[in-house]
Structure formats: structure tokens, C-alpha cells
Symmetry: C2
């Protein structure tokens, strides 16, 4: 295998580990995947925020409103790696039950950008969203691939 093939396999394994940590609602597990100064364009406002604490705070909010186990899956994952930079994109689905008793079933678009920092791949930027309908001002929360 080439180095790039090895690295792509490593990133896919890493993302599988992140999915496991999310399903387990394991904040300490999730913490290991992000750079301390991650710039996140996240699902909810603001437009942009910086830092691991804010990122984990958003996961904490999701975990607080969902029952265990949380359903989380990726599809159409593309990983592109060169040297110490990677980007990946996928359609991610959160499912399971909300704590208010309603079923959860939401697909979001997710782009993750990694850098290898001191030998570890870390997410330094992510972008998570649903499309907007500009005419009606609605967030398209119920689309499925």
C-alpha cells in the first residue's frame, strides 16, 4: 500500500472511532478527535466558533436531549489525504429517541478537515449543516439522501 492509502485507511478508522464515541455519548472519547483551536461551522448558531470547549459543549447539548444509545451513521464517505492534510465529507444521520419521547431522524452534511499535529490526526475544521430554503426562511431539517 502507498502511504496515502495507509493514511486514508487510518482516517476511516479514526472516523469509525468517532462514530463509536458519539453513539456511546462519550465526551472524553470525542475530545481526542478535535484540535484545541478547531474552527467549527456548526449546525446551530453562531456562524462560526473556535475551540474544543465550545465543540464539546455542542455535543453535550445533543447528548442531553437524546436517549441512549444514540444512533449515528455515515454514508457516502469520501476521504482525501495528502501529506499532513486531509478532508473528508459524508452525509451523517442522527437517530434514536429524544428525551422528550419523539423519534430522532436527521440527516446532516458533514465536512471534516484534519491536520497531523505532533503525529496525531486532529480535526481542525468542521462544517455541519442542512440546506436552507431562502424563500420561506426554513431550515430543511427533514431531507434524506
Amino acid at each position: 500500500m502507498t502511504s496515502a492509502t495507509n493514511d486514508e485507511a487510518a482516517i476511516r478508522e479514526l472516523l469509525a472511532g468517532l462514530v463509536e464515541a458519539i453513539r456511546a455519548m462519550d465526551l472524553d472519547g470525542i475530545r481526542r478527535f478535535y484540535a484545541s483551536d478547531i474552527v467549527s461551522f456548526d449546525f446551530e448558531p453562531p456562524l462560526s466558533y473556535t475551540g474544543l470547549d465550545a465543540k464539546l459543549g455542542n455535543w453535550k447539548k445533543i447528548f442531553a436531549t437524546h436517549e441512549r444509545p444514540l444512533g449515528y451513521e455515515l454514508r457516502d464517505l469520501v476521504v482525501c489525504v495528502s501529506g499532513d492534510v486531509v478532508f473528508s465529507h459524508s452525509l451523517n444521520r442522527i437517530s434514536g429517541m429524544r428525551t422528550n419521547g419523539t423519534p430522532a431522524n436527521r440527516w446532516v452534511r458533514c465536512t471534516n478537515c484534519f491536520r497531523k499535529i505532533e503525529g496525531r490526526w486532529l480535526i481542525v475544521h468542521d462544517h455541519v449543516s442542512v440546506p436552507a430554503d431562502a424563500g420561506s426562511g426554513r431550515a430543511m431539517l427533514d431531507l434524506a439522501p
Copy 2:
């Protein structure tokens, strides 16, 4: 300068060229920046689409609803390059006048991912969005950085 520094400068120059083409509403100019099989997580539905024609179709829709010249600016641009892979992210503002006579002023989050293909940097993935307010179901169309 190192090769990475040169490449970062090249990508910043490329993005400046894309901004100019957008301001000029120059579809043929814009075409040069995208890979034929770009995977776009765009501002409006669907969740995801593939291909240059669809990408240009979306730009065409924006151009059809705005007066010339279109205002377009990037801020907080970060460019991260290694070998033949790049990601960049920024907050982008569309401004000017709509053809319906109302002023345009919208900030979006934009992540661009490039690959060097046959010696040319091309955008193979982009992700453009505003945040969603999950509670109200609103797209947050009027946020500013």
C-alpha cells in the same frame, strides 16, 4: 519560500480570482475553478449533488436574482495545504441589490476542498451554509460575524 507557502499563496490568488468572477457574474470564468465531478453541499437543497453543471446552475440562479455588480467578499480566510490537497474556509458575504429591488446582505459559511489534478488546483468539494435553529425550524439567514 517553502513549497507549502507557495501553494498557499497560489490558492489565495485562485480564490481572489473566483471572487472576481463571481462579482462579474462570469459563468465561464467560474467554471474554471471546479472539478467536473465536484460534490457540493450547497446553500439550498438537495443535501448533496454532484457535477459542474449543477454547480454552475446554482450560480446562474443567484446571478439571475441580483443586479450587477454583485458584491462578494471573504473574511477570516484560512488555507491549509499539503501536497496535492487543500482545504480552505471563510465567511463569505453576498451583497448588492436584488432584481426585486431589495438590498442583498447575506453571510454564509464556506468550506472549499481542492485537489491538484493534472497540474491544476480544482475545487472537488464545497460546503456552503447558514446555521439552523432546530427549535423553530428557521434557517438563520441574517447572522453576521
